[in-house]
C-alpha cells in the first residue's frame, strides 16, 4: 500500500518523538514509524516481578526547577507534554580507590557546588573562579554568535572571547590544567566524562562544560515515571495533535527521486511518501538502506571516517530491603580503581556508575524494597570478546557477579542476599532494540576531530541530503537525553521550512 504524508519520522527515540511532536503541533501531516512496539528507544523501562526498572536514564541535565525552568523543562512545556521532574540535590559521589584515591560528593547549585568542591579540594578556589569566568564568557560568546546568526566577526571572537575559543578547540583535561586545576581536582571535575563516552584527554572541553553547567545550574532532573513516562508524554502530544504512530513498523528502505531528493521510505511492505523524512536512525543504517548512488560521496566518506560511540552493560537489581536498611545513601556513585579516565576507559573493571533511584524517588519501587542500576561503559568489544550465543547467559551472570561484588567491597555494603530480581543488558541488547551498529547507544564517538564543536561548525555542509534530516544522539550536539530532544525539534524546524517551501538552514 502507498501512504502519503507531509512528513515521515523514522524511529521513535528521543529525537524522533520531539521531531514528530513539533511537526504535529505545526499542523504538518506526520507519521512516526517505530520498529519496536513502544516509544522511546533507550528512554524506556521494563518490568520484572514487582519492580519496574529504568532502562537507561541516570538523570537529565538542563531541567531546572518549576520556578526557574531549564532548557529541557521548557522544551516539554512548549510542546504541551505533561512531563514532570524531580530534582536531585547531589550531582554525584565519586570514589576512586587506592593510593591518591578519593571519595567526594558534589552538590548542585553554584554556591553548593563551589562549597562542596572546595571542601574536597581546599586549594581550588582560584581555579574555580577562572572556570566560572570561562562559563560566563562562553555564554556571552554564544549570545554574540547567535546575534550574528552564526557568522561572527573573527577578530571580535579572538579579541573578546579567546578563552572560549580555547575551550572550544581543546580537550577537557588540557583546559582544566590551563585553568590551574591540579590532577586530583581535574579528575574529580571530569567525573561526568563517561556520560559523553569520551575520556577527558580527548573530550572537547566546551562540550563537557555545557553539560556540567546544566547539572550545576538546575541540578539533576529525574522523571517520576522513569524515562518511559517522558516517552509516553511525547507520544501523547503527537496523538493529540492529529499525528499517527505506527509501532512494529520497521523501515527497510529509503526512497530517492531522480534529483537525489529523499521522497519516502519502505516499511512493512508499504510505501510511505513524504515531502520530508526525518531519521532518528543513525546515518550508517540509513545508507545501508539506500541506493548508494544517491548518497553524496562526502557523506559516505564522513560515515566511514567516524568511529562509533560506546555501548553499555547494565545490571538492574530489585532488592527486597530498603536503601536505608542496606546502607545505600547516594543516588549516583561513580566508582573506579584507576585514576585517569584513560586507564578507566581502557580497562575491564575500569569505571562504572551505580544509581539508586529510591534515594531520589522513594516510591520508585514497592514499599520495603529498592533498586540498583549499574552502568558499565563498554569502550571496545574486548569485554565481549569471548561471548557466544551459547555462553551469553552465563556471561551476563558472571559479569553481574563481578560488579556487584566490587560494589559491595567498595561501599562496604552487602546486597547480594537481597536480590529479588536481576536483569542484565549488554551491547547486544542495544543492538537488538535499536539496531544501531555495534550496539552503540551514543551514535558517533565525540572525540578529537569529531567533537561537538567540529560537528557544529560543519552543520549545513554535511549530511545535507535534500528531503532528509537527522536527529538523535548521533547528530551534531552529541548524545544525551536533553540534546537528543533538542535535536528533534531542530530537525522538525528544518523539515517544516522545507515542506513549506521556505529556505532551510
Amino acid at each position: 500500500m502507498i501512504y502519503e504524508y507531509d512528513a515521515v519520522v523514522v524511529g521513535a527515540g528521543n529525537g524522533g518523538l520531539t521531531a514528530a511532536a513539533t511537526l504535529c503541533r505545526e499542523g504538518i501531516r506526520t507519521v512516526l514509524l517505530e520498529k519496536h512496539n513502544l516509544p522511546g528507544g533507550v528512554a524506556s523501562s521494563f518490568v520484572r516481578g514487582r519492580f519496574e526498572f529504568e532502562a537507561s536514564l541516570h538523570e537529565l541535565c538542563g531541567v531546572g526547577t518549576a520556578d526557574s525552568p531549564g532548557s529541557v523543562r521548557k522544551l516539554f512545556s512548549k510542546l504541551g507534554a505533561d512531563a514532570d521532574f524531580i530534582n536531585e540535590k547531589n550531582l554525584f559521589r565519586t570514589i576512586v580507590t587506592g593510593q591518591d584515591g578519593y571519595d567526594v560528593t558534589l552538590e548542585s547549585g553554584w554556591d553548593a557546588f563551589r562549597a562542596s568542591f572546595v571542601r574536597a579540594c581546599p586549594g581550588a578556589g582560584k581555579s574555580l573562579d577562572r572556570l566560572e569566568k570561562l562559563f560566563r564568557k562562553t555564554d556571552e560568546a554564544l549570545r554574540y554568535n547567535d546575534k550574528k546568526k552564526g557568522r561572527p566577526n573573527k577578530l571580535v571572537m579572538m579579541m573578546k572571547y579567546g578563552k572560549f575559543l580555547i575551550s572550544a578547540s581543546h580537550p577537557l583535561d588540557d583546559v582544566l590544567r590551563y585553568l590551574g586545576f591540579s590532577l586530583r581536582e581535574r579528575l574529580i571535575l571530569e567525573t561526568y566524562w563517561s556520560y559523553l563516552g569520551v575520556p577527558a584527554y580527548e573530550l572537547n572541553a566546551f562540550h563537557y562544560f555545557e553539560m556540567l553547567k546544566g547539572y550545576i545550574d538546575g541540578g539533576a532532573g529525574i522523571p517520576p515515571h522513569k524515562s518511559y513516562g517522558l516517552s509516553l508524554s511525547l507520544a501523547d502530544v503527537i496523538l493529540k495533535n492529529g499525528g499517527e504512530i505506527r509501532y512494529n513498523t520497521e523501515v527497510t528502505g529509503f526512497i530517492y527521486g531522480e534529483d537525489g531528493r529523499v521522497t519516502g521510505v519502505y516499511a512493512g511492505g508499504d510505501e510511505y511518501r513524504a515531502k520530508h523524512v526525518i531519521s532518528n536512525v543513525i546515518p550508517n543504517n540509513v545508507f545501508e538502506m539506500s541506493d548508494l548512488k544517491h548518497v553524496p560521496r562526502k557523506d559516505r566518506k564522513l560515515v566511514n571516517a567516524r568511529k562509533l560511540g560506546i555501548s553499555f552493560i547494565c545490571i538492574y537489581l530489585g532488592l527486597d530491603r530498603t536503601a536505608e536498611e542496606l546502607g545505600i545513601k547516594d543516588y549516583s556513585v561513580f566508582i573506579a580503581h584507576r585514576q585517569s579516565s584513560r586507564g578507566q576507559a581502557d580497562a575491564d573493571m575500569g569505571m562504572y556508575v551505580v544509581n539508586c533511584l529510591n534515594v531520589a524517588v522513594p516510591e520508585a519501587t514497592p514499599e520495603g524494597t529498592c533498586s540498583l542500576f549499574f552502568t558499565v561503559p563498554v569502550f571496545s568489544n574486548g569485554m565481549m570478546k569471548n561471548v557466544t550465543p551459547e555462553n551469553y547467559a552465563a556471561f551476563k551472570s558472571e559479569t553481574a557477579r563481578k560488579y556487584i561484588e566490587d560494589y559491595e567491597k567498595t561501599l562496604g555494603v552487602s546486597i547480594k542476599d537481597s536480590i529479588e530480581e536481576i536483569s542484565v543488558s549488554t551491547p547486544a541488547t542495544f543492538a537488538r532494540y535499536f539496531g544501531a551498529p555495534n550496539g552503540t547507544a551514543y551514535g558517533y564517538e565525540l572525540s578529537g576531530w569529531d567533537g561537538v564543536m567540529a560537528r557544529t561548525l560543519s552543520l549545513g555542509s554535511e549530511l545535507d541530503i535534500k528531503g532528509l534530516s537527522f536527529c538523535g544522539g548521533h547528530s551534531a550536539s552529541g548524545d544525551g537525553f536533553g540534546v537528543s530532544y533538542e535535536s528533534g525539534v531542530k530537525a522538525a524546524e528544518k523539515a517544516i521550512a522545507d515542506i513549506r517551501g521556505e529556505r532551510g538552514e
Binding site: S182, A235, R300, M384, P389
Partner: protein, 395 residues
C-alpha cells in the same frame, strides 16, 4: 600535593578544527558502510533473538492420553540454520494457522539448553475445544513445517538471586519447564539442588515419570510425585503441608508452574511456608480464562461489550464478552493481534486503550507505571468493563 605544571593553549587551534576534520573525512573510503550484521553485538542479537525461527517437526511421542511431545529442528531450506539458544525454563511461542488466521500459543521448551544445538522439544496438551492445541495434535506430523518465536521468559534459575536449594512445584503439563531444568542439572549446567514435587490426577498423567524417577535414583534430584489417589505416589493435592514436608530445612527457592487453579490455591497457602518473597517464583502458565475467580475481580454490568479495534487508522467493531480477554475476542473475530506470553508479562501485545474501562487482575498486571497513566494495556489479560476502543499494532 604536586604543583600543577603550567600549560599553554593557543586559540589558533580553533582555526584548525575544520581543516583537520576535512582531512580526516577525505582520507576515508567512499564505499558502503560496514553492514550492521558485521558487528558482534548485532550478530549476537540476531542469533539470540531471531524474529521468527523456521522449524520442522521431526518426531512425535505420546506422553499420556492427551499430551504429545514434539521434537522441532531447524529448517535450513527456509532460512533457519540453527536454533536460538535459551535458558532452562523459557518458552517459545508457536504460530499456528487455523483457517485464514495465524494464532500463537506459548509452550515451555522442555528439552535442555545444551540440546539446542540440534533440537527443541515442546509438550502440548490437547484441550479438545477446537482450538490451537487440537490443531497441533491433528496436523503436526514428522515433516510438518512450523514457525516459532525466539525463546522468551524469565522463569529461569539464577544463582545470584535464587537459593542453592530449589523446590519445584509442578501441576500437570506445567512440569515442562522443570524437565528442562532437570536435564540441565543432569548435564552439569545448573548448580541448583532440585526437589521436584509433581502433582497430577493419577499416575498415568504424570509426564516424564520414568525419566524423573531415574534422575532421582541417580541422586541428581529429589522427585516427589503426588497424585489424588496416591497410586505409586504421595497421596493428595500439593499444598503447604506437602511442600514443607519435603522442602529442605534451610532457605530454598520455590518455583511454581501449573494450571491457574493451582496458583490460586497455593497463593493462599504460601504465607504458611514463611518464605521471603524473593524466593517464590511462579510461571504464569496459560491465560486467565476465568477472571471472575480472581480475588480482585470487579463485576461487569453487562455480559457483552462492544470493542472497537483500531489498526493502521482503520476501525472495526467486534463483540467482547465480559469474561474473555480483549485478545481472545480479537482472535475470535479473526483479527491478527500481536501476542506472545498470553499472561500479561511479556508486553508484546501492548496496545493503547483509547476509551473504555478494563479489569486487569493485579496478579498479572505487568504494565509499566506510565502505561497506566497514559492508558495502555496488555490485551491478553485485560477484561472489558465498558464498551471500548483499542488501538493495536499489527506485526
Amino acid at each position: 600535593m604536586k604543583k600543577t605544571e603550567k600549560i599553554k593553549l593557543s586559540i589558533s587551534k580553533f582555526l584548525k578544527i575544520i581543516p583537520d576534520r576535512l582531512k580526516r573525512i577525505e582520507s576515508a573510503s567512499d564505499g558502503r558502510p560496514k553492514p550492521r550484521s558485521s558487528y558482534k553485538p548485532n550478530a549476537l542479537a540476531e542469533a539470540l533473538h531471531p524474529r521468527v525461527q523456521h522449524l520442522t517437526v521431526t518426531e512425535t511421542r505420546d506422553l499420556s492420553s492427551d499430551v504429545r511431545l514434539f521434537t522441532l529442528r531447524p529448517d535450513a531450506s527456509r532460512g533457519t540454520d540453527r536454533l536460538a539458544p535459551f535458558s532452562a525454563g523459557q518458552y517459545i511461542t508457536v504460530f499456528v494457522r487455523v483457517g485464514d488466521r495465524v494464532l500463537s500459543r506459548p509452550y515451555s521448551i522442555t528439552s535442555a539448553p545444551y540440546e539446542a544445538s540440534e533440537k527443541y522439544e515442546i509438550a502440548v496438551k490437547r484441550k479438545n475445544n477446537g482450538g490451537v492445541s487440537d490443531r497441533i495434535h491433528e496436523t503436526w506430523r514428522p515433516g510438518t513445517s512450523v514457525d516459532v518465536s525466539e525463546p522468551m521468559g524469565v522463569f529461569t534459575y539464577e544463582p545470584l538471586r535464587d537459593a542453592a536449594d530449589v523446590v519445584a512445584v509442578a501441576g500437570g503439563v506445567g512440569v515442562t519447564p522443570f524437565r528442562s531444568i532437570v536435564r540441565s542439572v543432569l548435564h552439569g549446567d545448573c548448580a541448583a539442588r532440585l526437589t521436584l514435587i509433581y502433582g497430577a490426577r493419577d499416575r498415568e498423567s504424570l509426564l516424564f515419570f520414568d525419566e524423573f524417577s531415574a534422575s532421582a535414583e541417580s541422586g541428581a534430584i529429589r522427585f516427589i510425585p503426588v497424585t489424588e489417589n496416591g497410586d505409586g505416589a504421595v497421596r493428595g493435592v500439593i499444598g503447604a503441608d506437602i511442600i514443607s514436608e519435603y522442602a529442605p530445612d534451610t532457605a530454598y527457592s520455590l518455583f511454581i508452574c501449573g494450571p491457574q487453579a493451582m496458583y490460586r490455591a497455593l497463593e493462599k497457602q504460601l504465607p504458611a511456608l514463611g518464605l521471603r518473597r524473593k524466593y517464590v517464583r511462579a510461571e504464569v502458565f496459560g491465560q486467565i480464562t476465568d477472571p471472575w475467580n480472581e480475588p480482585d475481580a470487579t463485576v461487569p454490568d453487562r455480559d457483552v461489550y462492544t470493542l472497537t479495534v483500531r489498526r493502521n487508522g482503520a476501525e472495526e467493531q467486534i463483540l467482547c464478552r465480559a469474561d474473555e480477554s480483549l485478545l481472545s475476542a480479537m482472535e475470535r473475530a479473526g483479527i491478527d493481534a500481536p501476542s506472545r506470553c498470553r499472561s500479561g508479562e511479556c508486553g508484546f501485545c501492548h496496545s493503547r486503550l483509547v476509551t473504555g474501562e478494563c479489569f486487569i487482575p493485579e496478579r498479572c498486571d505487568r504494565r509499566r507505571e506510565a502505561d497506566a497513566v497514559y492508558g495502555y494495556v496488555h490485551p491478553c489479560c485485560a477484561f472489558p468493563r465498558s464498551d471500548l476502543t483499542l488501538e493495536i499494532n499489527p506485526v
